[in-house]
């Protein structure tokens, strides 16, 4: 799930939780993070059953080496054991593995990692009833990805390129992505573009824009994204509207609505509402609950409740 953080206070600040810096010496740093999220869930659908879903079982390793002159070499290896825990076959836990060089505000990295367009989106659901956005709707792989990030004070620019390599888990072809984000006086604006060229096929062009605004304890955001499939000459568009409210400094609620429509087909509307409670002494520990539904005929509302621990 990739989305803009809508800056709900309860998600933006940690309490006395500690990230683990394992080792530091002569400019070398090794940090270890963890993210565990387990849900009791019933999916949207007809006569769905409840089950336990492992949404995140991640261990994230981050290495960096200070090369002096404002230059840093870094690497990251993330393992996520959720697929194993969920009983899927033929899975590997490796989620991200890349190395890179940072110089000032600019970093270049390559390996297995997220695309630039993965930064797009404002939906606030734990499990979105539809695709999160059109960038999410287009299948990606991310095994052979080059990426450039530029982090300025209020502007964030990312570009990524996925090589046209074969044997990539069913996702073939090259991807070129860009994403830009600006944050000024509580107003955040984002825009993304992706050009996916499958092997032997026409390209799929996806673009999207988003905006969010915070006023006190309230947050409001919306995004719109559309994919132009050159193979079918059909457009698919999706929009999100999301609102958040910090009820207290430990409790936040979010509601949202989505609509997705493909040319020559009926549109689908989904909605969700969730509440998150973060323990005041350790805000890296949270419990949450969500209900969600869509307007497809003969489907029942979905629901989930779960717990998340980060370090």
């Amino acid at each position: 799930m990739k989305k803009l953080l809508l800056a709900v206070a309860v998600t933006a600040a940690a309490g006395s939780a500690n990230a683990v810096t394992v080792y530091e010496n002569d400019g070398f740093t090794y940090k270890l993070n963890g993210d565990l999220q387990v849900q009791l869930r019933r999916d949207i659908g007809e006569d769905e059953s409840e089950y336990v879903d492992f949404d995140d079982l991640e261990l994230k390793n981050y290495f960096s080496y200070d090369l002096n002159n404002d230059m840093t070499a870094f690497g990251r290896v993330d393992f996520d054991f959720k697929d194993e825990a969920n009983g899927k076959d033929n899975v590997t836990p490796l989620e991200e593995a890349y190395v890179g060089i940072r110089y000032g505000v600019t970093s270049f990295s390559f390996g297995k990692q997220n695309f630039a367009s993965d930064e797009f989106g404002v939906e606030e659901a734990y499990e979105a009833p539809l695709d999160e956005d059109q960038f999410d709707a287009v299948g990606t792989d991310g095994d052979d990805t080059f990426r450039v990030d530029v982090e300025l004070d209020n502007i964030y620019l990312v570009s990524s390129y996925e090589l046209e390599a074969e044997d990539k888990g069913g996702v073939e072809g090259e991807f070129f992505d860009i994403f830009a984000f600006a944050d000024v006086a509580g107003l955040s604006l984002g825009g993304g573009f992706q050009k996916h060229t499958p092997l032997g096929g026409e390209s799929l062009d996806t673009w999207g824009v988003s905006a969010g605004y915070e006023f006190g304890v309230f947050g409001l955001a919306a995004d719109y994204s559309v994919t132009d499939d050159g193979n079918t000459d059909l457009d698919t568009q999706l929009y999100n509207v999301a609102a958040t409210l910090d009820v207290t400094n430990t409790t936040g609620v979010a509601i949202g609505m989505q609509n997705q429509e493909e040319d020559n087909a009926d549109d689908v509307t989904g909605w969700y509402a969730n509440v998150t409670y973060k323990f005041p002494t350790q805000k890296n520990v949270s419990v949450f609950a969500e209900i969600a539904d869509n307007d497809i005929d003969e489907t029942d509302m979905g629901a989930l409740a779960g717990m998340r621990v980060k370090f």
Partner: protein
Amino acid sequence: MLVFVAPVYADVTLRLGEGVDLKAINGGLSGREGREISLRDGPSQILVEYTAELGRNDDDSVLDTSDVFVILFESEDQYLTLEAPDISTRQEMRAFNKSDGWILKDAGGNPHPFKSDVLEKDGFQFARNYEQELSDYNRAGSGEAALAGLQDSNNRFLDNPDRKDEFPVARDQEMVREMLRYWYLKADENTKREMKRWMNSGD
């Protein structure tokens, strides 16, 4: 007519902002919970770090903790707040560690002067001995926020150098002595001179 005024023991209250973790106060491990701590009037040296959630989306965000900072400030009967700026990217965390962006302000929101420094330790970061590290840091005396005067000759950290016990007193006199010292330090020069004359007179 002699009017007895109950002494008000003036303390400094320090509120820690969200994400600020207190490691030590005046050389000793904090062992405190909650966002507000009480400090004695005078110089205080605290050891803190800041943890923030980095990332532009909640799913991929990671917790990251700043360097450990020694912060030295002087205060008297004040309500102070120590905060760190909002940090959401590794770039901002690096800048914070380099440029020291701590914010110490009084009840009116005005900046309160302080000195700060990173307490560095090479090697594995598990189970750091902050008491020993602070003792070494203060004894070296070269750090920006070092305060050697807060340690005695055995490297034990004292609450306040003014409180060093030269004359052991009975337990029931500790508070009396504390209050005498407190009001003496509050007095202006005329009052102090009068008090000295009165004590020397033998009355």
